[in-house]
């Protein structure tokens, strides 16, 4: 499943909704096996990108390919390359966990034996073997999310799209989902993650794109993006509001802190995003 060749290639991708330009020409390459995060505030165009790549939304211009297959010209072959976890739970509430997974296998034309084996394996993978015959409507939000992740992996995709996979989940369940995502990536799957949780991108991603108003404004490793603003930060409350000062070294920050009782912290991706766009990711 892994490799260093490009698994996701996007060139000049545009999406217009009437006069509103949701995507203004996205260029992006994600190599095989990488965990790539697409970070931006609500409305930046993150979900629109995933919807286009997964065939739910038509593009207005540009091109994209998944595993070497053009998403418009070779749509069916391109769809075999990926699994997708939407930010909303799109499971049949009146069906059981097993039935939901079985329908997915059938949509991918999997044979009976393979279906049974993969479902058993994926249920064990997400630690839900004992829930196979439970109706979806009787599961908690975290368990439903795990079913959607298991479903997305059933057909052994090379690419996994995760659109805000932990939205609406509490901190403990979020961490459990993160561990699962790491595990999936370590087995060679290319992961394309959208999020507006800073700590999610920092914890998981090998490479991050900052998306703002339909454009990629920065693309690099989390460490390089953070290094652009410094290593240490001190937040100050001034008459005009909260201000942050950045420092390259801890010594510089300590010297500044000596002038008052300030709290010092490590620079994070929020700082990098803020310095580039003037906005917070969570806005």
């Amino acid at each position: 499943m892994s490799g260093s060749h490009a698994m996701i290639e996007i060139r000049g991708l545009r999406k217009d909704y009437g006069r509103v330009q949701a995507l203004k020409g996205i260029d992006l390459t994600v190599p095989g096996g990488q965990l790539f995060a697409y970070l931006g505030p609500n409305g930046a165009g993150k979900s629109t990108t995933i919807r286009i790549l997964t065939g739910l939304t038509r593009m207005s211009g540009g091109s994209a390919s998944l595993g070497g297959f053009d998403i418009e010209r070779d749509a069916i072959a391109a769809k075999r390359q990926f699994g997708v976890v939407q930010q909303y739970v799109n499971l049949d509430q009146e069906l059981t966990v097993f039935e939901n997974l079985d329908i997915h296998c059938r949509l991918f034309a999997m044979k009976k034996k393979a279906r049974r084996e993969r479902i058993d394996r994926l249920l064990a993978y997400v630690d839900m073997t004992d829930r196979a015959s439970t109706l979806i409507k009787k599961l908690s939000g975290g368990l439903k999310r795990r079913v959607t992740i298991a479903r997305a992996l059933l057909h052994g995709p090379s690419i996994l799209f995760l659109d805000e996979p932990t939205v609406g989940l509490d901190a403990a369940i979020r961490r459990r989902i993160w561990a699962l995502i790491k595990k999936i990536q370590q087995e060679g799957t290319t992961i394309f993650l959208t999020t507006h949780h800073i700590e999610e991108a920092e914890f998981l991603a090998e490479r991050v794109a900052f998306l703002d108003e339909g454009r990629i404004v920065a693309l690099d490793t989390p460490n390089n993006l953070m290094a652009r603003v410094g290593s240490w930060a001190i937040d100050l409350v001034e008459d005009s509001g909260m201000k942050t000062r950045y420092f390259s070294t801890r010594e510089e920050a300590d010297r500044f802190r000596a002038h008052g009782a300030f709290t010092m912290r490590r620079v994070n991706l929020e700082d990098a995003f803020l310095s580039l766009t003037g906005k917070k990711v969570g806005q």
Binding site: K79, I103, H104, R106
Partner: protein, 245 residues
């Protein structure tokens, strides 16, 4: 194409299985009320051209049920699309639009057949004894195919649940009452007969009634139902592709 179509169909059938009791009860209510009020209480002794009104009414109810129940798939598609977002799962799967439409249409036909069995069972309890030759079932299949295809097409066009109700109110309900279900159309003014002759349900109820009463069936009615059905299936195929935003 076939595996995708069967996967979509299987999902609908699993849901139908889970809802079977309430679905069957719901499908029995309308024909039971129509048989009681129009056929039994009001028209027990009424005859049209020598035919008992109950014998006249039941084939009409069969035609109407095949239309309304096949069309009702549109509501389920809407719930799956706007509320549960299941439609996204189908759109992201490696299946063709034709597979999706065929699966949903087959589900609509299955629902229609289930309601027709219920209607015929109720008719039997009311003492109605009719003929059910192959052409009777063929007409039902064509009518269900036509309205299930229309249901998929319209379910893709509407933007919310309220629009769906409007379509049912303006398209299905008038047809149910004016398509030869409850009374013979030859009692109406000629100009109105000509207009109502354009409705698919008029052809379906006329053909189903003729078959059930052992009379000759106009082949042209069946051809017309088949042609309109294919056109609606094509529309549904086109609309599924357009449903991508």
């Amino acid at each position: 194409m076939i595996t995708g179509c069967l996967a979509v169909y299987r999902r609908e059938m699993l849901i139908l299985k889970r809802r079977f009791k309430r679905q069957a009860a719901g499908q029995a209510v309308s024909p039971l009320l129509y048989l009681l009020t129009f056929g039994y209480a009001m028209g027990g002794e009424l005859r049209f051209d020598g035919t008992r009104y109950l014998d006249f009414l039941l084939p009409g109810l069969v035609a109407m049920s095949s239309m309304t129940q096949a069309f009702a798939i549109s509501t389920d598609i809407n719930v799956a699309r706007f509320y549960w977002h299941i439609f996204d799962e189908f759109q992201a799967a490696p299946i063709s639009n034709a597979s999706y439409v065929a699966g949903e249409v087959m589900a609509g036909i299955s629902r229609a057949l289930m309601s027709i069995c219920i209607t015929l069972g109720l008719g039997y309890l009311f003492g109605v004894r009719l003929h059910y030759p192959p052409i009777f079932w063929l007409t039902i299949l064509l009518n269900s195919f036509l309205f299930a295809s229309l249901a998929v097409a319209l379910a893709m066009v509407v933007r919310n649940h309220a629009d769906q109700s409007l379509l049912t109110n303006f398209v299905i309900t008038p047809m149910a009452f004016l398509g030869g279900t409850f009374f013979p159309l030859d009692r109406l003014p000629v100009w109105l007969q000509k207009i109502l002759g354009l409705l698919p349900l008029t052809h379906a109820s006329t053909a189903i009634r003729a078959a059930a009463l052992g009379r000759p069936v106009h082949v042209m009615s069946l051809v017309l139902l088949a042609v309109i059905g294919v056109v609606f299936f094509g529309m549904a195929y086109y609309c599924v592709n357009k449903a991508r935003d």
